[in-house]
Amino acid sequence: MTVANLQVSGLSKRYGDFVALAPTDLDVAQGEFLTLLGPSGSGKTTLLSLIAGLSQPDAGAIRINGTDVTYGAPYERDIGMVFQNYALFPHMTVAENIAFPLQMRRTDAQAARKMVMNALEMVHLPHVAERYPRELSGGQQQRIALARCMVYRPSIILMDEPLGALDKKLRDHMQLEIKRIHRELGTTIVYVTHDQEEAMTMSDRICLMNAGEIAQLGTPDDLYFRPSSVFVADFLGESNLLDATVLERAGDQVRVAMPGVEGAQGASAMVYDPMVEPGRAVKLLLRPQNLHIHDGAVGGDGAHRDGVATISAKLTDIMVTGGMTKLYLQSSVMGGAVGEGGGVGKSLVASFPTHRRGKRFEIGQTLGLAWRADDAVAIAG
């Protein structure tokens, strides 16, 4: 069994009474792209800073390639780091910046020169070697920062929200670039971001953090389709969370009773949380793209046939965001009475790809919403 590239065990850090990081365990495999995702204050930057050696933990251990580096200095850890504002040395040219870590490792000047040019070619910027960082655009500086921490092939590359300062188009482009470089190099990357789309796009695994703890660790698929808590369900992508009560459970299938769906059988859903048992109040997770629209109210609320549950709702808003069209609806299921002005509680969101010749909807219309049982997930809430 190969030793994981990075092993974090029981690592914790507090500032006075504030727990920045609760005791945390994390293993990162060789060549993996792991993203630390979470809102501000979730502990992801603290964790990254501890791994880098820029701050010291209160307890726990960090091992890189099997060596304990818990209290070691950054320069003893065989890491590379890309900072949010790039931290390129302004008094050195691009080539000198990239050559710097090679000089620290006493690399021969000739060989260093070659490695610098290779690094520049890898980030598609071979012509800027003699320029100074201030003469480059934000995107170019970011790529140079990347080249600088790749050139000496560290075991682990850490990235602290490197794309935060770039505009959307550039960010999307850079995401692909970083993925490409990751594939070509095969280095382990630990990436910090608060942008869940970015995390979903780039990661092999996502470590979603909240209030200093890991909320869920898994592939983007795991977190998106099989969230373990309401926080995870809510954080990643858009979600509809409906109140329900468990009637019966059989393995990974459950039947729940929920307002708006009549019948003793209730609605069916998937479940992955071992905590969910009959009688338990749960939230039913439905992604907007899994809510399908029927014209008009379905005959008899909550008709449940062929594994498809249905409720009726009133359309309150339509938003066309380019490729996707989103419908905002209100239904008694969500606690607000249909037809009353000033909706109470959250709206339901249903989305589908925008089509020129698609169905036209009107605000105020009553629609039926249907979903497949295996698209719904029951989460202990």
């Binding site: 880098a52 820029l54 320069y75 850890r77 590379g80 900072f83 931290a87 008094h91 710097f100 870590p101």
Partner: protein, 568 residues
């Protein structure tokens, strides 16, 4: 908006100095260079010039060397700890040169603190002759100018990206290498600016060499004083002044060529102006710095490592503490001595008595000096506010061409050696009968104080969010109403703090007062100077303490206000 300041500087700076320069080349019959010939003919005068340069160069070197660790530490601190250290530094900066130099006279004297302590400890048999020597002058000048070096270097160091040392560390650089190859090169523009300010200030110094130096340590400004006060030789004094001014201008010119004057304001120097240093000099620099880095790292590795804190942190802190004690101690020593019950200035002070403070209170000479200084100070403060604030507005907000020329003009009183201004103004006042008048002195002090007002207000205005004004306009307020009800209240703290800085500058001012006041109409510093040069008594220690504490309180308040105004 610009008119008042232009008029003020034209009348009170350009005209008097110009007059003085003209005097140097005017002879019995038209233009002559006789005075300059006289200057360079005699070896005495040339020697004075050389001594001035020598003292200034040594002072610059040591002031920058000792100031660097303090500035470095300050740039890495934040919050309360930074404010504390900054307070001690500013206190030293604003404490009058007179008070500090006098403290050294007391410290180094035959019966002074150092000698007495060494005698009592049995380390020496007879008092050492420490005063009236080159080392004494150097010590006094470095002590006086170190805060200036620190503050100038600090402004550049604070602009260095904090992440860069961390980045270097993750790339494999040890602390020594991080400092020498990353931090130090980026701080060099600050070092250059600090060196410039210290050098230019020190060649215009006369207080320290007069009080601490011997006959062979005469500096050029002492020469000017002699020629004016003793020999009444305006022409010759003018020639010396021209020489002094020429040296200052040459230094500025050379500095601009090598480094770029934009570094003074915390800019990045030749990096910004796109100057590229030649290939081989860069390679040489890099080799030297790498070697220094490796040497430092070897040294650090030899020291015991502490978990979680790098070794050099502790050493740096100790050095900085020692330096700050060095800066503050002399003036603080005046305090116990002022309560001495014995009749002479001796160490250690015996008993406790308020007799010296009583003497000040009873002396009409001292009291009127205090009153006059207060009046002139308030007058100069108000006047420089009235003139300087519109100029600051113009420089920050007015879209005018030649802004840097205007700024250079406004800051000229800082650059032109105070002595030249003092002599020029004296000559000017003598012709129009303003010598010895408070009005004249107030005007002269305004010239000197105005640059500080402009600098402070410019910083405050730059920080001011002009969108607040726009919001007021959009809500229906006219420009004047907006100024009255939105701008000024917010700038209020800044206005008050620049008044206090201007007041402190005037209150402490000696050079101009030396010539334009006298007899029953002296200022406090002038009275102090007269007393020191005549006899040393504990009364002076008492005056020192009062001055010190007064200025300390003033600066504390002014700093708080300035910070508050920048925080909005």
């Amino acid at each position: 908006m610009a008119a008042p300041i232009v008029i003020l500087l034209a009348v009170m700076l350009i005209y008097p100095v110009g007059q003085l320069l003209l005097l140097s080349i005017r002879g019995e019959s038209g233009f002559t260079l006789a005075e300059y010939q006289r200057l360079f003919a005699s070896s005495v005068y040339v020697e004075v010039l050389l001594i001035t340069l020598k003292v200034s160069l040594y002072t610059t070197f040591f002031a920058v060397l000792t100031g660097y660790p303090i500035a470095y530490r300050l740039s890495t601190l934040s919050g309360a700890r930074k404010q504390r250290l900054l307070f001690w530094l500013l206190l030293s900066f604003w404490t009058s040169f007179l008070v500090r130099t006098f403290a050294w006279v007391v410290l180094l004297g035959r019966n002074g603190v150092i000698n007495r302590t060494l005698l009592d400890l049995g380390l020496i048999d007879a008092p050492l002759s420490l005063l009236y020597s080159f080392p004494a002058v150097l010590l006094g000048m470095v002590h006086a100018l170190m805060p200036l070096a620190v503050l100038t270097m600090l402004s550049v160091m604070e602009n260095i990206d904090r992440r860069l040392p961390s980045a270097a560390s993750t790339l494999g650089a040890r602390p020594g290498t991080v400092f020498w190859r990353v931090y130090f090169p980026l701080s060099l523009p600050g070092v250059a600016a600090g060196a410039l300010m210290v050098f230019v200030t020190s060649i215009g110094f006369f207080i320290t060499p007069t009080l601490l130096g011997g006959r062979h340590d005469t500096m050029i400004t002492q020469l000017i004083i002699d020629q004016v006060m003793q020999a009444l030789n305006w022409g010759f004094a003018g020639a010396i002044s021209v020489l002094l001014l020429a040296v200052v201008l040459v230094v500025f010119f050379v500095y601009d060529r090598l480094v770029g004057l934009s570094t003074m304001a915390g800019g990045a120097g030749d990096v910004k102006t796109g100057k590229r240093r030649g290939g081989w000099s860069r390679a040489l620099g890099e080799t030297v710095l790498s070697a220094l880095g490796r040497a430092t790292d070897l040294l650090l590795r030899a020291m015991p490592r502490h978990k979680g804190e790098q070794g050099d942190g502790r050493v740096l802190r100790a050095i900085v503490v020692l330096l700050v004690v060095f800066l503050a101690a002399p003036a603080l020593l005046m305090i116990p001595m002022s309560f001495d019950s014995a009749s002479g200035l001796a160490w250690p002070p015996k008993g406790f008595s308020l007799q010296w403070y009583q003497q000040i209170w009873d002396s009409p000479l001292w009291m009127q000096a205090v009153t006059r200084s207060m009046l002139v100070g308030i007058g100069a403060g108000l006047l420089s506010m009235l003139i300087g604030t519109p100029a600051a507005f113009l420089l920050v907000r007015g879209g005018m061409r030649g802004k840097s020329a205007m700024l250079a003009f406004v800051l000229a009183p800082i650059v032109v050696p105070r002595m030249i201004l003092a002599v020029g103004v004296f000559y000017f006042f003598a012709k129009i009968g303003l010598v010895g008048s408070s009005v004249g002195l107030t005007l002269a002090h305004t010239v000197v104080a105005v640059p500080y007002v402009v600098i402070t207000m410019m910083a405050v205005l730059r920080n001011y969010d002009t969108r607040l004004d726009l919001a007021a306009y959009s809500l229906g307020a006219r420009p004047w109403a907006t100024l009255r009800r939105v701008t000024f209240p917010i700038l209020g703290a800044g206005l008050l703090s620049s008044f206090l800085f201007a007041f402190a500058t005037s209150f402490d001012e000696l050079t101009i007062a030396l010539f334009t006041s006298g007899g029953l109409s002296t200022t406090l510093p002038k009275q102090f100077w007269d007393e020191i040069t005549m006899q040393i008594s504990p009364v002076i220690a008492a005056v020192s303490t009062c001055l010190f504490l007064f200025i300390a309180a003033l600066i504390w308040v002014a700093e708080r206000l300035r910070r508050r105004s920048l925080a909005t």
